[in-house]
Symmetry: C2
Subunit: 301 residues, 2 copies
């Protein structure tokens, strides 16, 4: 089935105990799209500025990503973000954010994309996500990501969005912030009560949980010795998950559990390097091999 992602593409500068990366390709939509493209072709709707390096377009072309919806906007600048990870890699500080083109009008959705059935609204303000959602009348499964900023500054709009999507993806702190509930199982139930069929709570190094039509699944992260840069882990998790679901066109709990496992595996690769460097090197065969190790790790006799 057709899969589309809308969201940000940025130029990131990341500092971590493991090293530094300056002016590298980043942004929620590109981590998602690269991860999902291992399972199914991905349509991308995003805007960058005229400063966007051509070499990054080459990176996109290394994945199965359709670029018709990528707008290089003359007179605008690309979104930029810089951040620094603490010693334990679970906490990071944002050092600077320049919204640039993200603060301008949304990129247009190509007519050929309007029939998209699997829709992922990567993190941006909920008003924009709602406006984008409406452009996909044939959607079978629409899932949104969000962040702490929108929960605190645009709660009403966010709640409206949550009432219109089939799934919501957010991290544990955000789930607690949104519901006031520190027990994540209860928090996930409360979010489902707001409308969506399922909610995925990402717990970083501790994995992810899903509340799906009353069923609960918690999966651990893949045991990773090598963590160089956690940036994009959540987006690549979501990409692997949605990419797999679109590829099998199935949203049963069994399919969702397997999709979460694939998301877990892709994220475990993503964090091994800065930017998309590791995802550029691996193949579906690598992913399936690690997936099998993970599946066996969880198979209790």
């Amino acid at each position: 089935m057709s899969l589309i992602v809308t969201g940000s593409i940025g130029i990131d500068s990341v500092e971590a105990p493991t090293g530094k990366a300056n002016n590298v390709l980043g942004g929620s939509a590109i981590y998602f799209a690269a991860a999902a493209s291992f399972f199914t072709p991905v349509r991308l709707v995003a805007a960058v500025g005229e400063d966007f390096p051509d070499e990054y377009l080459e990176t996109f072309r290394g994945f199965d990503i359709d670029l018709e919806g990528l707008e290089k906007r003359v007179g605008s600048k690309t979104f930029r973000w810089s951040g620094k990870y603490h010693e334990n890699m679970n906490v990071r500080d944002t050092l600077s954010v320049d919204l640039n083109v993200l603060a301008e009008e949304l990129p247009p959705v190509p007519d050929g994309y309007r029939d998209s059935e699997y829709v992922f609204l990567a993190n941006t303000d909920p008003g924009s996500q709602l406006a984008l959602l409406e452009q996909f009348p044939n959607r079978k499964l629409a899932v949104a990501d969000t962040m702490d900023l929108w929960i605190s500054t645009q709660r009403e709009k966010l709640v409206e969005l949550i009432g219109h999507v089939d799934g919501l993806v957010l991290n544990n702190d955000e789930a607690e912030q949104l519901t006031g509930e520190s027990n994540l199982i209860v928090a996930a139930e409360k979010i489902c009560d707001m409308g969506p069929k399922f909610v995925v709570v990402k717990k970083g190094e501790h994995g992810a949980l899903i509340e799906h039509d009353g069923a609960k699944v918690v999966l651990p992260a893949f045991p990773a010795k090598k963590v160089v840069d956690p940036t994009g882990a959540g987006d690549s998790f979501a990409g692997g998950m949605m990419g797999y679901l679109a590829s099998v066109d199935d949203t049963s709990i069994a399919a969702v559990r397997k999709a979460m496992a694939y998301g877990t595996i892709i994220a475990s690769y993503n964090i091994e390097t800065f930017s998309l460097d590791r995802l550029k090197q691996i193949s579906r065969t690598d992913i399936d091999k690690r997936f099998e190790t993970y599946r066996e790790m969880l198979a209790i006799e």
Copy 2:
């Protein structure tokens, strides 16, 4: 196979956002013993004071626990602990500790216990754990628990202990404190390099991981909506794990994975009430039913 646990029995007072419990039965050895007794008879070596209420002995008798090694010491007082859980239940403050009988000489090990093959040294100072270990010359699997206090005050003795046991159980903060390594996978490897065949890192609401002869298994906690009191969760986890291993007399990775799953299930019951109240109500049938739900949750097709 015969299973023995040595450790503390205490009278606890616990305050949590969910309520209060004053002067209830607690201590590492009793949580362990109660949990393990669902799988195999448990021998208990511990000392209490003359103030120890007879009604608590009745509680012990409700489980399959041999009390020959329980010493009620005249002229001594029972260990007492009081603590308060924070709003999110993952953090607690110790309000008071009265070591009492725990600060005196160790309880004697009955002659009939010296052939014990599965040995669990619940948390106490590593010198005492070493002295107890030597009393079980037929041990096939000796596992110790520890805590932050001994890592900071008796590191040398603790390292000696770790070199003499087959397995070590500790929580994530302790693993980091012991190794200086924030990546728990790497921390677990480093602890295995100190001697034991395996190390289990307990992560509270996020489950547990094991490093076992080079194999790594991470399992999530059972998704629990009802958390009344986390006291004893780690000890009941260890009890379920060791109880199962002793019952099947197998320490292969497949058996250990299943044992961790059983530990996870017992801990999920334990936290539903204060003290041992929930474990007193359930049967092996209840445990196996929840175990099956958990097994299915993790079975990726």
